[in-house]
């Protein structure tokens, strides 16, 4: 045993470990990101690397009669040209829930932009030019574009060979093979309840196809390895799910596909599905060279799935006193050409379709379609966004029908702890729906005519149309609108959701150091920051190193569904607790004879020391660890189990946790030109416990802005006649600039969820839900127009 010469007798003031949970600790990668040194996936470089390029279909639905790659292969600088026939393994498809997406088109394409061939060359331009020389003979096929054409007699069946593995292998509840998934929910007796209604309000709504538009393009580097495997450095949301889909298509066992997360330039759900992963690996394995692939923005719009556009019909009944009697709703989500995560999106849309309101008697149906439109899958809000847009419009109309204030009406019908969802599940943690509405309503309104200066002149920058100088205030009217939403946190419907963390504690240079190793994807949300904060809190050690995320450690699950702080945070906490027990046992063995408290007291780790719960210091942690092998633990964490929704009634304990946000939007509308300026978009959200308040507010503001985007500008436009995407560029697909985005004051509530680590709630998504309907409600109030479609376009406001 080493001589212990430094045993302070009491914990000095302020030596509690700084940078733990609840503090706005700054990002550890912030400095690298502001100096340009942080390596995003498109920045990777390898000696001798070549460039991959994808040839994509110009047609939305067509048969490939013949492909001739000879001219492309003959071009100088080209190393390989691959088509479907070159896929090495029997498994040629992949997919998150259903493996129905071909790695390369197999005789026919089902959407505009589907990958058909790959080229590897010495320069990206060489690869592009070679791809342009691939000759393809096409035969166009009839299009499936919406529910009517998908279910029409004689409609082309897009996936005739599909075997359903998404709903316990039971298919009878899917009435047509062009329906990916259907989820009905029936509870109570809607017909009987409707008889109690004094007003019945029906509405039909349409929600456009939104794009995640993360800024860092799909990109990565595949390096062939001597053992016949491949090392892939890539920006993704879930390394292990990628590997599960990649390896079979390469014909490799999973352990020969080694993945490391590279810098991720945003995700928002758009990196849940594979993009260039398989393609880069195929080219690397074929050429024996490191292959880098980087999409440009045009290709990025085809490289990832989008948010499901939706057509939604609601019927609500309400009594003269303002109580909702019942609801019927039907939500049709366009899943596009491949399934992606459509089944789960359908489940979310159905189960959250009543919003955060008490409605006991319901008849609900949500369906997801196969069409020849671009594939749709995960995006922030995941099925709850589309429903929220529609039910919140209904709430305003119901309130108007009974002559109530829209906020008071919502509060009267708001769910609270103990309320039931239409699935029968009781909400068993705080549900402060009325309170977050009260908070956004109580906030002082921004002053009227802010754009008007003292001399009667206008600062046009603050007016609708901005620097375009389209108005100096004439024809500008103001409106205020409210909305609130409910989002599930984590993976639902019985999914075995877990995350793994490995935590190591050792003495380095006489100081205790913690290393946290997980496969959790840091996509910008600040996951690595809170992982370090948790480790500091649990182990009382200031120095925490976050190891790069890779597949050498167990799966962390996806950075999506607002689950990563909950799940990987929970795993880090669990692993730290096990490390703490081991290090205390070690301390008792080494130093237990020095002080009776080693065996009699409750011991804590704080400020790099072993401390009794009374604050007495027993040892420096470094002395306990000195000369010992590292204490090293890898543990998984699971949230409480959920169960699938019944396929006929939709009943079941399907969700883990809920997240609630409310918005108040203040808008000014130029009614002559149909231009909207959002003046303020205030948010209140319950986060359970803010592990990092600065990051939490940043997440809420970012989500709010994405909700604002789809309210007034964002939509991927697909030509219904050809199925082609009309606006795959930032010139034509508009996301909010700093001029389009208003002040976003945020009010954070912390009502602990007793079931979650530290009481936290997933934060990332809820604000996206309610921002959109709040803006729509404000525009309706300003203009008096019904406005049933998002995004609102100038022609909707001017009637042209």
């Amino acid at each position: 045993m080493s001589d212990v010469t430094r045993i302070p007798t009491s914990l000095t003031q302020g030596s509690r470990t700084a940078g733990g949970i609840g503090e706005s600790k700054l990002r550890p990668d912030g400095t690298l990101k502001v100096t340009g040194e942080f390596a995003y996936s498109s920045d990777l470089w390898h000696e001798d690397m070549i460039w991959g390029h994808t040839l994509r279909s110009p047609y939305a639905h067509a048969e490939i009669v013949a492909i001739d790659t000879s001219a492309a292969l003959a071009q100088a600088g080209v190393y390989a040209v691959l088509t479907y026939d070159d896929l090495p393994a029997r498994q040629k498809n992949y997919g998150l829930e259903i493996a129905d997406t071909p790695a390369l088109a197999a005789g026919r394409v089902r959407h505009h932009g589907e990958p058909v061939a790959l080229v590897a060359a010495d320069h990206p331009e060489t690869a592009r030019r070679a791809a342009a020389k691939i000759r393809i003979e096409w035969r166009e096929l009839p299009l499936v574009t919406d529910e009517e054409s998908a279910l029409a007699p004689g409609a082309p069946v897009l996936h005739p060979d599909r075997t359903d593995d998404c709903a316990d292998g039971q298919r009878p509840h899917v009435p047509h093979p062009n329906i990916v998934h259907r989820q009905p929910i029936v509870r109570g007796d809607a017909a009987a309840a409707a008889l109690r209604a004094d007003h019945i309000i029906t509405g039909e709504y349409e929600f456009g196809m939104q794009d995640q538009a993360f800024l860092g393009p799909e990109s990565g580097l595949a390096v062939p390895a001597e053992d016949g495997g491949v090392d892939l450095y890539v920006a993704t949301q879930w390394l292990h799910a990628d590997r599960r889909q990649i390896a079979p298509v390469l014909g490799l066992p999973e352990e020969k596909v080694r993945m490391t997360l590279s810098g991720v330039g945003g995700a928002f759900g758009g990196r849940e599905d594979l993009s260039m992963q398989i393609h880069a690996c195929l080219l690397a394995l074929r050429t024996g060279k490191p292959v880098k692939m980087v999409y440009d923005r045009f290709e990025s719009f085809f490289g990832h799935v989008h948010r499901h556009p939706a057509r939604i019909r609601y019927e609500h009944g309400v009594t003269a006193e303002g109580r909702i009697t019942h609801a019927r709703c039907r939500i049709v989500l366009d899943g596009g050409a491949y399934a992606s995560s459509t089944p789960a999106v359908v489940g979310n849309a159905a189960s959250l379709s009543m919003g955060p309101y008490v409605v006991e008697d319901v008849e609900i149906e949500a369906v997801g379609l196969y069409t020849n439109n671009p594939p749709c899958g995960a995006m922030r809000g995941f099925g709850a966004v589309q429903a929220c847009f529609a039910y919140e419009a209904q709430m305003d109309r119901l309130a108007a029908a009974v002559g109530m204030d829209p906020v008071a009406f919502r509060q009267l019908n708001a769910m609270s702890e103990g309320s039931r969802l239409p699935t029968g599940q009781r909400v068993d943690s705080p549900a402060p729906v009325a309170e977050i509405l009260r908070r956004v309503q109580a906030r002082p309104l921004p002053p009227e005519r802010q754009w008007e200066s003292a001399g009667g002149t206008a600062d046009v920058r603050a007016l609708p149309g901005g620097l375009s100088n389209t108005t100096h205030g004439e024809g500008v009217v103001r409106g205020v609108g409210y909305a609130v939403g409910i989002k599930n946190v984590g993976f639902s419907e019985g999914f075995d959701d877990f995350s793994t963390a490995r935590v190591r504690l050792e003495a380095v240079g006489g100081e205790p150091v913690v290393t946290v190793h997980t496969a959790a994807a840091e996509v910008g949300q600040g996951g690595i920051t809170v992982q370090a904060q948790i480790a500091r809190t649990e182990l009382g050690v200031a120095r925490v190193v976050i190891a790069p995320a890779d597949t050498r450690v167990g799966s962390a699950g996806s950075t999506s569904a607002s689950r990563q702080t909950y799940m990987t945070g929970g795993a880090v906490r669990n692993a730290c607790a096990a490390v703490r027990e081991q290090v205390l046992a070690l301390g008792r063995r080494k130093l237990g004879t020095y002080h009776p408290a080693w065996t009699t007291a409750e011991l804590l780790l704080e400020g790099g020391k072993v401390v009794t719960d009374g604050g007495e210091v027993l040892a420096d942690l470094a002395d306990v660890l000195d000369g010992e092998p590292p204490v090293d633990v890898e543990l998984p964490f699971r949230h409480r189990p959920t169960e699938p929704f019944d396929i006929e009634t939709g009943q079941g304990f399907g969700h883990v946790q809920y997240s609630f946000a409310a918005h108040r939007a203040v808008v000014e509308v130029d009614t002559e030109l149909g231009l909207v300026k959002v003046v303020e978009l205030a948010c209140a959200q319950d986060v359970g416990k803010a592990l990092n308040p600065l990051s939490v507010v940043g997440q809420i503001q970012g989500g709010t802005t994405q909700g604002l985007g789809v309210a007034v500008m964002e939509e991927i436009v697909v030509d219904p006649a050809t199925g082609r995407v009309r606006n795959p560029s930032f010139t034509d697909y508009l996301i909010p600039t700093i001029l389009d985005t208003p002040a976003i004051p945020v009010d954070v509530l912390e009502l602990a969820d007793p079931h979650a680590p530290y009481g936290l709630r997933g934060v990332g998504e809820a604000s996206t839900l309610s921002a959109t309907p709040a803006v729509l409600a404000a525009i309706r109030q300003a203009t008096g127009l019904a406005l049933t479609k998002a995004p609102v376009r100038p022609e909707h406001l001017t009637g042209t």
């Binding site: 923005r297 970012g702 930032f730």
Partner: protein, 156 residues
Amino acid sequence: MRVTFTVNGREQQADDVWEGESLLYVLRERMGLPGSKNACEQGECGSCTVRLDGVPVCACLVAAGQAEGREVVTVEGLAEDGLSAVQQAFVDAGAVQCGFCTPGLLVAADDLLEHNPSPSDADIREGLSGNLCRCTGYEKILDAVRLAAARRGEGA
């Protein structure tokens, strides 16, 4: 062709540059300066903003040959002894999330503050309106520029 220009105060040279290559490509792939980002390569997002003879431009829209003999400043050139005031303010204000837009925003904000040391919020919004950010909702970016302006003011 061969292209020679000054980057962050140092003369740099690239050989075998294809005539169609952008300044962005040459900086990132030939000169080992990947700080300027390739988010759209359409001149729409501002992530590749650099200063060319002092004027902010989208490097993706500048042909590499146009930079011949000129001065380019990228995000890698902003820090001198430690982080610049703008860089430090972005870190401190929480204006960096995924960070992909950050290098372009920093170059644009640096230029803004050089010309307008105490900008109003409307000035900041106008000055940064060519730079898209998808993560932050811009509030903390405004905070960062206000903070940088205040700190530069104190230091002056």
